[in-house]
């Protein structure tokens, strides 16, 4: 794993203060309801909470019993109930049911809802409508930033993606601004902000407003540069199969809040184990960014080294043995445990992938990215659908086809959609409607000449003055222009060149040398050019909304200073582990350090699942 790394990469700031901050805020809020109380926690808040506090912390602050919110009637004997929830109407309705049931039964209790990261007016309206406004006190726990690793901070808001990009609801814009503001107030001041995407622009504005409102202290910046990017700028990257170790583990086992559960097939016992995957795991840290094909060799080399280290015991006298046991054995055992886990995981992944003809799947993806043998790709996808192979996988391939080809020919669209509905159920009509709305899976529009006019119109209209017009053009505005972008930015290396995955020469290694992720390429280009100059054609193809601004608050602007080379990349709508690996590679090559701030960790399955509507 020899990388030609620049040695002068700056040090990353310490993010543990964020955990402490969140924890203390929570404790403060719990103290606002003095006395013993039962705490109900929203299911998807449990893991994040686990990362910053534990049961004894909560117990110390008079939390008696802990429950998961399950939308069922509550059996609790406590006379004080506290609900720690996301600001969702459904959950608030459930709380109302709980309170009203108590009222009906003549029970008088004290209730408190703690919304995190913030409360929404719509939620309070529910309280009002259900007649319990005033019976329930509400608070906000501004838990925005959860450090998952030394270079990843997560907002843990997977719904950001669907709400913002599919529903067009800007409720999380301010949240994004506040998260950035919190980061800024601890690790800033920022001196440069770059960005692309509508949401990025709005988040920037929201952040700027919040900075303006608050007090600013002159301090030494730890992080000086920020890049904001909307997920819909690049849908292709998250829809590709991940082949870098960490991404592959996420695709197959699903990493949840930095933690993965390995089942019996990995542990080769009858138990599952949960494992934290981060830089603390020395074995994982060395393979996480590697192409999967290198991992096996690396692990077996490690195993051999370990064997040698163990073997040292032979022929030791008692004193040496004592030192060995007290100094080395523990470390070796730990390494042994980790090694066998990751070897088990690799084996299990290999098995799963050979079973589903992974090679052929990758070949199809690469052809799509290259725009080569599209007919073959279509019939591959068709067979996939016909054989009822994974419903998500089929949609993913359809979306990739549509994105890379700028939409499907009407004939293909109709036929593939019909076959899809036959294989997986007609209720996926709703899913197709969503995919179309988002521009992930569309029919090619007849008359390509419209586009020029449309792009001119696009600049003139905005949603306030010409909603209808925008609507009429919206399907066109969402053209992905992937092929043109790919050419402009040389995203797809020439296929006749050999690509040595052991010695990656660019970020394409994360996709077996077949494709440089568009999102990361944009970041690279903008940092290199210190702005968008020279990328006019690219931003036009991406439907604009790019910006580059420089602050003038006395922040350190020397480009070579450490803070300038620590770059915060904020992904609005989620990012993949592969993208993080690519950025780490870029950082090593150019002497940057990237910190990824994302609304959620995503992958193709999560992205597609967010679009499903075939359930109540």
């Amino acid at each position: 794993m020899a990388h030609s790394a620049r040695r002068d990469s700056p040090e990353l700031p310490d993010f543990s203060v964020l955990k402490r901050l969140a924890r203390d805020q929570l404790i403060y809020l719990l103290e606002q309801l003095p006395g013993k109380k039962d705490l109900f926690i929203e299911a998807d808040l449990m893991s994040p909470l686990d990362r910053i506090a534990n049961v004894s912390t909560l117990k110390q602050h008079e939390v008696d019993k802990l429950y998961k919110v399950e939308y069922k009637p509550v059996v609790s004997t406590s006379d004080q109930l506290c609900f720690l929830i996301r600001p969702r109407i459904q959950t608030v309705k459930w709380v109302c049911d709980v309170v009203n049931a108590d009222k009906a039964a003549g029970k008088f209790k004290r209730y408190k809802i703690i919304f995190t990261p913030q409360k929404f007016y719509a939620c309070e309206t529910v309280l009002e409508e259900q007649g319990i406004f005033g019976d329930v006190s509400t608070d906000e726990w501004a838990f925005y930033l959860l450090p998952l690793d030394e270079d990843i901070i997560n907002l843990e808001l997977p719904e950001f993606f669907r709400d913002n990009f599919l529903e067009g609801d800007q409720r999380w814009v301010r949240t994004g601004g506040s998260a950035l503001h919190l980061f800024h107030s601890i690790y800033g001041p920022f001196s440069k902000v770059y960005g692309i995407g509508r949401c990025s622009k709005m988040v920037y504005e929201s952040w700027r407003e919040q900075v303006k409102e608050g007090e600013q202290k002159a301090r030494q910046a730890e992080v000086g540069t920020v890049f904001l990017i909307d997920r819909d700028v690049d849908f292709v990257t998250p829809l590709c199969s991940q082949v870098v170790y960490e991404g592959l583990v996420d695709d197959i086992f699903r990493i949840k809040c930095g933690c993965v559960e390995f089942g019996p097939d990995v542990t080769s016992s009858d138990k599952s184990i949960k494992v934290m995957l981060n830089s603390q795991d020395k074995v994982f840290n060395e393979i996480r960014n590697e192409h999967f094909s290198n991992v096996f060799g690396f692990l077996s080399q490690k195993a051999r080294n370990l064997q040698t280290a163990y073997d040292k015991r032979r022929g030791m006298d008692i004193k040496q043995m004592k030192t060995f046991v007290s100094e080395e054995l523990k470390g070796l055992k730990q390494e042994h445990r980790l090694l066998s886990l990751h070897i088990g995981a690799s084996e299990s992944m290999m098995k799963k992938k050979t079973k589903q003809d992974f090679q052929e799947l990758l070949k199809t993806e690469h052809s799509l990215l290259e725009g080569f043998e599209i007919r073959e790709c279509i019939s591959f996808i068709e067979e996939h659908i016909n054989r009822q192979v994974s419903m998500i996988e089929s949609l993913r391939l359809l979306c990739l086809l549509s994105l890379t080809e700028n939409g499907l020919l009407p004939k293909d669209y109709r036929s593939l959609k019909a076959q899809y509905l036959q294989s997986y159920g007609v209720d996926h009509l709703l899913t197709f409607a969503n995919l179309k709305q988002l521009g992930l899976l569309v029919e090619q529009q007849p008359g390509e000449t419209l586009t020029v006019m449309e792009s001119k119109m696009g600049k003139l209209v905005n949603d306030k003055t010409a909603g209808k017009l925008t609507d009429a053009f919206s399907s066109l505005a969402k053209k992905s222009n992937f092929r043109a972008l790919s050419r402009r930015l040389s995203l797809v290396p020439k296929s006749d060149e050999e690509y040595d995955l052991r010695v990656p020469r660019d970020m394409a290694y994360i996709f077996s040398g077949a494709y440089i992720p568009l999102s990361c390429k944009l970041i690279e280009q903008v940092l290199e050019r210190d702005g968008w100059t020279g990328l006019e054609e690219v931003t036009r193809l991406l439907n604009g909304h790019e910006f580059a601004v420089t602050g003038s608050n006395g922040a350190d602007l020397r480009p070579q200073s450490d803070a300038q080379r620590i770059i915060l990349v904020m992904f609005l709508g989620g990012c993949t582990f592969s993208e993080i690996s690519a950025l780490r590679f870029l950082g090593r090559e150019r002497g940057y350090k990237f910190i990824v701030l994302t609304t959620a960790i995503t992958n193709s399955a999560r992205l597609i699942e967010a679009m499903l509507d075939n359930h109540v």
Binding site: R51, K274, M276, S423, D427, D463, K464, D613
Partner: protein, 459 residues
Amino acid sequence: MMKSKADEEDYWNSSKFKAFTFDDEDDEFTKLKESRQAVNSICGLVEEEEDEDEVEKVSWSGEPVGSISWSVRETASSLREQSFPKIDTTPSLPKNSSGYSLSSLFKGKEVLSDSSVRLYAPELRKPKSEYKVTAVSLEKFRSLQEKLLLLDEAVGVHDGNVITAVLIYLKKSLSKEVLFRELESRQTALRHFIHYLTESKEQRLLLELYRALGRTEDEALLQYKEHLRITDENKRRDFLKSCVSLPFSPEDAGHVQDHYTLLERQIIIEATDRQAETGGKVEIFQKFPRRASILNMPLITTLYYCCFYHYAETEGTYSSPANIRQTFRIAEKQYFVTALAARAKLKAWHDVDALFTSRNWLGFTRKKSPLSFSRVADILSKNNAPVQVLQEYVGLVDDVELRVALAQKYKCHFIVISTYRDLKDRQLLLGYRGKVERGSEEERKIDELLSNPQIRWKN
């Protein structure tokens, strides 16, 4: 159902790693205080608390802006160096729209966003009663023009929470017709409203909205979605029937029609088969008991099921594969894949064979497939077909390299051998001799070929 305390403990302790801790055994209070200070200084909350009354009055009550603390703050902020430029280019509102200056109400977005923060995200220690101030003050916006300006201003701030708050107020204080009409030209607000109605499950109003906007397909889809809530299959079928006439696109209308027809048939097939199964007279149900009901399964699953249990039936019955194929216009390839998988699962190799056999007009038979033979072999092997069956299809793969690769993968030695013979490649054949079992028929065949003087080897 209630989780016991022990269960919960178990959950929390089951994660294998300690949550983040820091030494806080003693002196907890000081630390808490310290970090609370940190929180406060970061968020600037303390400041906000001091002047919030003024701000609220200013922004929501409709009084002219100009209170002392407001202007002090304004001045301060204008003096402060503008550290980052504004980039958004939201066009400003038409200011001449009414006799008195409404724009002064909104003196900058800041005022609205400020108060909204305070309004919907009040400071920690703020007494509850204070929110009501705003509820009252929203009601000061009585004229349509004021309401719309309020809405447009909210949209301009890009805070979805504020937009929705204003929409909830407008929903309460405007008639549907007027609200719908005004939303039509305000796409951002409209999408917020639709999302709000979806989340609060106000189905009927949402349908009316779609109708008013002429978004008939959305209306149809939303209505169709309701079927997911109906668990009784007969009621669901009847509901789907009523959906057929909804204003779908012609293409989708066809799909919905199919959905209805399919469920109708599934109900019939399910009833008959359940009876046959419990009756115990039909062999196939005894040998392969049904694992689940066929109700609400996709079409292809239903076809598979029928190919499995009802393969030989004549086209007259609802459950015959041929009937299903015809009714739902299933593509040839799709039908083949499904029938093949079902018959292979049953190891009915004769049926498999028959699927591919076609007779030309001279009466000769030959194997034909809408699916590549390599794919056929793949499906067969996944269903554990024996080599004798597999090799027949592997042998039909046109591409020589692929054929050899597949034959090796599926251990169809004779195919490999005969392909090498056809290639007249003695070296490869010799090499392959080491891979077959010693003393086997395959070995004998290879020896026979190698010693055959009639073959003119190329190497």
